[in-house]
């Protein structure tokens, strides 16, 4: 099986505080992987290293055959856990910036997604609700034809209807030859879209495997397993 991501003995310390503790993980091509863990377990730190925003203290990360940098940023589409657009922008400005920045930006995909999310290109970012901002951010991220999508808490803090729309957009835009890494602590809402799940606790992987196999082995859904482990 080919790996899109290979992580070996990854550690990250903030001053004396360890956020990642010698973590190793391979992610197969074409898979949707859920990274699950409570707040402070290291999810966002891990993702920021993969996105090339943070540098690790120790260990190796290889994405699509390269260390995080210019190449990986061109093949990784990353959704941060907070709004990354300026308030003065109109939606069209945000689209234009993405089109400028990323050669893999697909205008048709963007148009379809905007329509699906009920967003108009002349709306101002400042006037959007939290849920609409999240939808716009996700629209931009999914409009790229990336090899790897990294979504950090894509449904946190949005209402159930928006949540369903976001899930639909993720499922509809998932393609077999790309991979996705999604972090969440809202396991019940998202578990059905994961091929594999990784349980993260205090910077360590404590459980990792195929979601369906885990359901079979433990005779429970991943959400119940999550509660058993972290509850």
């Amino acid at each position: 099986m080919e790996h899109i991501v290979e992580i070996k003995n990854l550690t990250k310390s903030y001053n004396r505080k360890r956020a990642l503790n010698g973590l190793s993980l391979n992610i197969e091509k074409g898979k949707v992987v859920g990274i699950l863990g409570p707040n402070g377990s290291g999810k966002t730190t891990l993702i920021k290293i993969l996105a090339g925003i943070l540098r690790q203290t120790n260990g190796d990360v290889i994405i699509d055959g390269h260390k995080p940098g210019v190449h990986t940023k061109s093949v990784v589409s990353y959704l941060p856990d907070r709004n990354f657009l300026y308030d003065w922008m109109k939606i069209q400005d945000a689209i234009d910036i993405y089109k400028d920045f990323y050669v893999d930006f697909d205008q048709k995909k963007a148009n379809d997604l905007l329509k699906f999310m009920k967003l108009e290109s002349d709306m101002k970012v400042n006037d959007l609700s939290k849920g609409m901002k999240e939808k716009l951010n996700l629209t931009l991220v999914l409009s790229r034809k990336a090899k790897l999508y990294i979504l950090d808490e894509p449904i946190a803090g949005v209402d159930p209807v928006a949540r369903d729309q976001i899930l639909d957009a993720i499922i509809n835009n998932y393609e077999e030859n790309s991979s996705m890494i999604i972090t969440t602590h809202l396991v019940r809402d998202m578990e059905k879209i994961f091929d594999d799940v990784v349980f993260l606790s205090e910077g360590d992987i404590i459980l990792n495997g195929n979601a369906e196999k885990l359901r079979e082995e433990k005779s429970m859904q991943i959400d119940d397993l999550y509660k058993e482990i972290f509850g």
């Binding site: 898979k31 639909d168 059905k192 359901r215």
Partner: protein, 121 residues
């Protein structure tokens, strides 16, 4: 909409759901199944999981795939009858097991059922 709250892998729950649709005739013999993508969106499930469910149904010869056309329900009525019987058997077996666990013997179970059926007629 389907609820995935029990303890089985999701692909098995989808297999059971489609079997039920075949038995009650929502999906008739020769009918085309929704595409993997359609059902994935409807149930909000990973397309790979749906694919696996379809493969399982195909392995059991309940559906067949035609290249470029899609997946279809078997045209073999005998097969669908058999499926219906199997499902009924599963329900009865589970019922009998539950009743045994409650301490009823065979005769008591039969009596209870004929009483109940009599009541309903």
């Amino acid at each position: 909409m389907m609820d995935f709250n029990n303890n089985l892998p999701i692909y098995i729950q989808i297999v059971d759901y489609i079997k039920r649709q075949i038995i009650i005739g929502t999906l008739k013999e020769g009918d085309k199944l929704p595409s993997v993508r359609e059902i994935a969106t409807k149930l909000k499930v990973n397309p790979n999981t749906i694919q696996r469910s379809y493969q399982e149904l195909e392995r059991e010869n309940l559906v067949f795939t035609q290249r470029g056309m899609g997946t279809f329900v078997t045209e073999d009525k005998g097969m669908i009858k058999e499926l219906k019987k199997n499902l009924a058997n599963n329900i009865i077996n589970k019922f009998i097991e539950d009743m045994k666990a409650l301490g009823f013997n065979q005769k008591e179970v039969v009596d209870l059922i004929s009483d109940k059926v009599g009541e309903e007629n």
